[in-house]
Amino acid sequence: MTASRLWVFGAGLWLAVWAAVALGAPGLAPHDPHASVGEPWSPPGPGHPLGTNDVGQDLLSELVHGARTSLLVGGAAALGATGLAVGAGLASAVWGGLWDRLLMRLVDLCLVVPALALALVVAAFLGSGVFPAVLLLAALLWARGARVIRAQALAMLQRGWVIALRAAGARSLYLIRAHLVQALWPLVAAEFVQAMAAALTLEASLSFLGLGDPTVKSWGGMLYYAQARGAVVTGAWLWWAVPPGLCVGLTVASLAMLGFALEERVHPALRARRAGPAIWPQIPADPLRIARGVLEVEALTVEYGTGPAAVRALDGVSGHVRPGELVGVVGPSGSGKSTLVAAAMGLLRSPARVLGGSVCVVGVCWGSVDAKRARQLRCRSIALLPQTALHAWDPLRPVVDQVAEAVATHQALSRREARLRAQAVLKEVGFPKSRMGAYPHALSGGERQRAWLAMALVNGPDLLLLDEPTTGLDVLGQDELVRLVRDRTRVRSRAVVVVSHDLPTVLRLADRIVVLCDGRVVEHGPPDGILRSPEHAYTRRVVGALQALRGSWAAEVVG
């Protein structure tokens, strides 16, 4: 069990114990909490493990009965708040329009009004008691959840499969019942836990301020009396105020911990951040080794996970790229292309494990350099045009600034010089001059792709790595990209590798093609050779598809 799991387990245990105590309070408490059963102000002793209060009531019994009220009020208020949040959030997202505007203004209102101040006023009106407290807390706490659930439901309604169902005749109520509630369930659970933590805190605060029901024992009420009857100045606070204070604090902390754990389950991205860089096997340094190319991959074997569930992504892949070459790597999805790209960039992270082999860039092998040198290599020696190039921009700054930053980070240049360099390279890749100051959202897909290309080329890398560069581009954009890579990149970069599942694009670009299938290099050679006599089953299939398209096109045009 990892440290964080241990914490979550501890939090769960604490809550479970107190839930049990609250349920069995009448049996568990040694005394009636309302009866004077001992000397007033007695410190902890044999009869009274936590001592007694100013009228001789047993404090342990009070604490045990107090758990009942506090957890009941907290739980019921959280249930009410979550129910309201789910109802309002879903209605707002699904029906939209006037509903949405009304409900969201109400949410805004609830969020801007200071909760405690409002609670004080309303509590004074409603009077004390468990039921008014639950109502009040639920009304205060639903708004945040409603907003979160609305946002998530809106995102879900845009999913392809939801649109397909709506087109096929699914009505809104059906979608809510059959899909949304189920899909949002983990989020709702996390919201419930967070609402409960907030409700407990608020309930304790209200009681502490004297707005609780004096006839019902609660943790907040104990704190109120401890303070009001002078326990804080006498030293009795140690057994009167500290235990309920600790109970409130630890319970809220436990709920928060559980909430975080649930949130991590809902958003796996929060979990992935903990992954560290993959470890490379040590290879003996060979001072006499001469680099054959800008990129050398030797018998590289990479697995994901361990034991019987391990998946071998790369299985003894070897190859190299010489200066001046444009190499294409083709393969179906799942063939190990992405793993190869990550390995070439030295960006493999756990759960990936390198079982054997090496990857060297301009003669320097990943795993043998520290983080700083690795960053230098990643920019000056090997640069990546990522698959996400269309979206991987800081939306708040013009692209030219972002390209200039890439220069300034790696080279000792003034801001002005960096900017000039950035503009020069942007111009080289055909980025329109009039758009230099534009923000990313204002650019077309093709323009963003060009800007990324400029970013990758701006430091003059030895090798440029293009990862599925045509993804998300239409045929016009693809065409432009091919020409750009063929005609413009070689000025700034000594070699280029294109990794793609799109055979037609790679055929147009590459001097040499490597076919990757099931983690192995199954075939390699010049484009002509691959096209004329494909050997491996996969290669035959893609080449066949291309020939089929050519055939039907020719038939159409000739008639």
């Binding site: 709506r166 005749g169 016009l476 694009t505 893609v542 159409e556």
Partner: protein
């Protein structure tokens, strides 16, 4: 064509908020049994047009007709009922299927929506559809989306679109995110299905070469307008609109014929 078009758009305009309109007076007809290609670059309004045609977005001006019936004149209940004649295939294979449902549950869902209660009958229809799209029911019925490849997912999405035996399937670039060989496979599958079932398709794509292999007629969409339509052969031989010419030239280079 003698019969009424299954889906017809007449002078359709659509804008989102205050921004420039996405569709500016679109005219488009899909006749029974016809495969119409909707070809245009990213941002031309292809997806918006399909949503409008599916009645999922209200139009600002103009009319959408389903077999001659004006959508706006139909009650919500009638519209929902008529949708049994529509199928829709989304673009992204990783977004096309509900992650928490098996293939059987996914494909049978439109049948459930339209009140077919007999579960044996539903399963039978699902099996027939899976076979029609080239997936073996015994292997796939119980699988979840994460256990399927991209191509398999799109086939399941196609099976779901076909399960009600619709008159028209709206496909929003279903192949654009697939491996090249799979793109051609899926397009061929759709050709076979059309021949067997007589379903019409409105097939959005940016690739004129794929459209030429699949479609009876191609409508070129640019800047929210249908700038040219006709048989693929005509468009390829003598494109009238410069934009069609550009698409044809790109597609030609992509196939590796002219290299400049």
């Amino acid at each position: 064509m003698s019969r009424r078009p299954v889906v017809e758009l007449q002078d359709v305009w659509k804008a989102f908020g205050q921004r420039a309109p996405v569709l500016c007076g679109v005219e488009l007809r899909v006749h029974p049994g016809e495969v119409v290609g909707l070809v245009g670059p990213n941002g031309a309004g292809k997806s918006t047009l399909l949503w409008v045609a599916a009645g999922l977005l209200p139009v600002d001006r103009g009319q959408v007709l389903w077999e001659g019936a004006d959508l706006r004149a139909m009650s919500p209940v009638d519209r929902a009922r008529w949708r049994r004649h529509l199928g829709y295939v989304p673009q992204d294979p990783f977004d096309a299927l509900p992650p928490h449902r098996t293939v059987l549950q996914t494909v049978e869902e439109p049948l459930r929506i339209h009140g077919i209660r007999d579960s044996a009958a539903r399963t039978e229809r699902v099996c027939a559809c899976l076979e029609a799209v080239g997936l073996s029911p015994t292997r796939f019925l119980a699988r979840y989306p994460h256990e399927l490849s991209g191509g398999e997912r799109q086939r399941v999405a196609l099976a779901r679109a076909l399960v009600l035996r619709p008159r028209c399937v709206l496909a929003d670039e279903p192949t654009s995110m697939l491996d090249f060989a799979l793109q051609v496979d899926l397009v061929d599958q759709i050709r076979t299905l059309r021949a067997r079932l007589g379903t019409s398709f409105l097939y959005a794509t940016h690739d004129l070469a794929l459209a030429a292999r699949l479609c009876d007629r191609v409508a070129v969409l640019s800047g929210g307008r249908v700038v040219e339509q006709g048989e693929p052969a005509e468009l390829l031989r003598e494109p009238h609109h410069p934009f069609t010419a550009a698409l044809a030239a790109s597609a030609r280079r992509r196939l590796g014929w002219t290299e400049t």
